[in-house]
């Protein structure tokens, strides 16, 4: 293994490859910032450019683009609440409130440090444990994936509900329902398309995310204009907009969050199909639970922990997703699927023999992840004060720009004007639901996971001969489901337990 690592180090530190990491990170960050162009599009754009390259060099460039695009996506999530990819939705929960409070520079810096730490820790894991983890990930079956997704949904519903679990669950169901629109994957029948061809492929994630987050947020800002006092306060806050200063206490607060979220993110990322989205939501939920009642209340209002956790986890999961790709030849996400295509086009067959047949490719990609993370930090930190100034634009100009970039981001994917009109409908519906205090995050996660949940449940039923007993007979599935049930019932039972405790104290007080 040491020989392989040294070979990889030799290849990754060649001047051409270091240059490729830099170009990749920079191009990826820039493309990722544009709503609608996530890591998949960014890497797809690179494929024709890399055809003439050596396989290691081509893959290093694509890995750099991947990291850059994820970081760029976080930037648009934080600054304008426009998560271009599912993995950065959780970033916007606390990143955007922090930016709105005049700490855009700080929020971007936290995102950069967290991404760097998550990516680096995960790359170390990848280096040490990739082959062993690949075997573990293979032991996960459809039933376990289904249970994992139920866990993700309940965690978000329980934590995003802010005291109103029923509303969060209703929104989760709404998201799951929206995911059923389009052609049923298994039986090929159209569902809820209302006879419209435009809906035959379903509703795209990007469309829903842009409409319910970026557009509805922009419309909400217009609907509730700020008072003169608020405007003056905002103007004052904008003086520190580009400041990236983090106090010692804040760094101390971040450190354990980053450690935990890196581990969680990496292991979730290793599972094919789970990826950065579930990792970021779970990390957010776990940290909110661990933060305790006082710090936990800051989540969703600009909590540093709430920003650091998903940012760390999604980057760690990106590294993790390379494990099934490089060791088994199974792409764990859409992005790694494109990379698989690129590997095959170089004549390289990813799988257990990749270590043996092409060790220089395997190890150089892993080593370049370290370098990529460093480059990302070095490139982006100096740019943060300038990027943050976007928020200093007057709202009369900023709001139409946000609307334009959201619309065009979706339109440029499909070139279908129906999508623009559908976005308006969703944005208005989201605005009404926001006014009625219904949380958007559970809806979006329900939508993201809905298709995968249904597919895994269906597959599990076929494997178990149409019997639902797999839910309690398989220990791993049952354990994950038990945790999900526990998470769901803890917020319901907590007030009752607290009330009972108060009664006991009162009685003891009266007695004593």
């Amino acid at each position: 293994m040491l020989e392989g690592i040294l070979t990889g180090l030799g290849v990754a530190t060649q001047p051409i490859n270091i240059m490729m990491v830099m170009v990749g990170c920079f191009a990826g960050t820039f493309i990722g910032m544009l709503p609608g162009l996530g890591p998949i599009s960014a890497i797809a754009l690179m494929i024709p450019i890399t055809y003439g390259f050596d396989p290691s060099t081509g893959l290093i460039l694509m890995a750099g683009v991947y990291y850059g695009a994820i970081f760029g996506g976080s930037t648009s999530s934080i600054l304008i609440n426009a998560p271009g990819v599912a993995g950065t939705v959780a970033t916007s929960f606390d990143g955007y409130p922090l930016a709105k409070a005049g700490h855009a520079g700080k929020a971007l810096a936290i995102a950069a440090y967290s991404s760097f730490s998550g990516g680096t820790i995960a790359a170390i894991f990848l280096l040490v444990a990739a082959p062993a983890l690949a075997r573990v990930s293979l032991s996960f079956q459809s039933t376990d994936y289904f249970a994992l997704m139920v866990l993700g949904l309940t965690a978000v519903a329980a934590f995003a509900g802010k005291g109103n679990l029923v509303k969060a669950l209703l929104m989760t169901i709404l998201g799951l329902m929206l995911s059923t629109v389009g052609t049923d994957q298994a039986q090929g029948v159209p569902r809820f398309t209302l006879g419209m061809l435009d809906l035959i492929d379903g509703i795209s994630f990007l469309l829903l995310a842009m409409a319910t987050f970026a557009l509805s947020e922009a419309l909400m800002a217009v609907l509730r204009p700020k008072s003169a006092a608020d405007q003056a306060k905002e103007l004052e806050a904008q003086k520190n907009l580009g400041s990236m200063k983090l106090s010692k206490e804040e760094l101390k607060e971040m450190a354990p969050v980053v450690g935990r979220s890196s581990v969680l993110g990496f292991f979730i990322g290793v599972l094919p199909g789970a990826g950065a989205t579930i990792a970021s939501f779970l990390a957010y939920g776990v940290e909110q639970r661990l933060a305790g009642p006082i710090k936990g209340k800051q989540f969703g209002k600009g909590s540093i922990r709430g920003l650091a956790a998903p940012e760390t986890a999604n980057n760690a999961a990106c590294s993790g997703s390379f494990v099934p790709l490089l060791t088994l030849g199974i792409p764990g996400s859409g992005t790694t699927a494109i990379m698989l295509g690129a590997l095959l086009s170089y004549g390289i067959q990813p799988g257990p023999r990749l270590f043996v047949d092409n060790p220089e490719v395997f190890w150089s990609v892993i080593i370049s992840m370290y370098i990529g993370n460093i480059v990302l930090l070095v490139l982006n930190l100096p740019l943060i004060p300038y990027i943050a100034r976007v928020l200093a634009l007057p709202s009369a100009v900023l709001v139409p720009y946000i609307i334009f970039f959201s619309l065009i981001g979706v339109y440029f994917v499909s070139f279908n004007t129906f999508d623009i009109h559908l976005m308006v409908i969703f944005a208005v519906a989201a605005l009404v639901l926001r006014l009625l205090d219904f949380p958007m995050a559970p809806m979006l996660l329900g939508f993201i996971l809905g298709g995968m949940m249904e597919e895994n449940l269906r597959r599990a039923l076929i494997i178990s001969d149409q019997s639902w007993s797999f839910l309690w007979e398989r220990p791993l599935t049952a354990s994950i489901l038990a945790i999900a049930i526990l998470i769901l019932f803890v917020p319901i039972l907590t007030p009752y337990i607290a009330r009972m405790k108060d009664k006991v104290y009162d009685k003891a007080g009266e007695g004593g």
Binding site: V166, L174, V189, P225, F404, L436
Partner: protein
């Protein structure tokens, strides 16, 4: 009516319509006998949704109605109208003209009246963005109306 109840009622209507439409999903006779078919998930979701919506509707809650004072519904409606206009014209007028109109219209709706801003913040951005997409990223975007080729 309180916010919770208005929301619950709206969602209940949506769930009922969704449930009704789920009965219209076409299934072949042999598919009806399987434990899980195209209607299973929608019908389970409908049942769960209706139960939860009814629970929220009838559970005791804060009865204060929503405060809509100071909200600028007219401006929001105008922006929505502009978005619909953009969807209708981005092909027929071409990307450049329709986007310039959309952005300048958006600035105007938001209260900007200076011509220099209306034009200066829309024309260069639209042209620059179009050049970036077509020249740097190789994404073809028709700049002019269809009849101009």
């Amino acid at each position: 009516m309180s916010r919770d109840r208005v929301g619950a009622l709206l969602l209940l209507v949506f769930f009922v319509v969704y449930g009704y439409l789920s009965t219209k999903i076409t299934l072949l006779p042999f598919q009806l006998n399987s434990a899980f078919h195209a209607r299973t998930a929608p019908q389970f979701l409908t049942a769960a949704g209706i139960v939860l919506a009814l629970f929220l509707l009838f559970k005791p809650s804060d009865l204060r109605p929503m405060d809509t004072s100071g909200m600028t519904f007219k401006r929001v409606s105008m922006l929505c109208g502009l978005m619909i206009f953009y969807g209708l014209t981005v092909r027929s007028l071409g990307f450049l003209a329709s986007t310039m109109i959309f952005l300048a219209g958006g600035f105007w709706v938001m209260g900007e009246r200076r011509w220099i801003v209306l034009i200066g913040a829309s024309v260069p951005i639209v042209v620059g963005f179009w050049l970036l997409m077509t020249q740097a990223l190789d994404v073809f975007v028709a700049p002019f109306p269809a009849f101009l080729g």
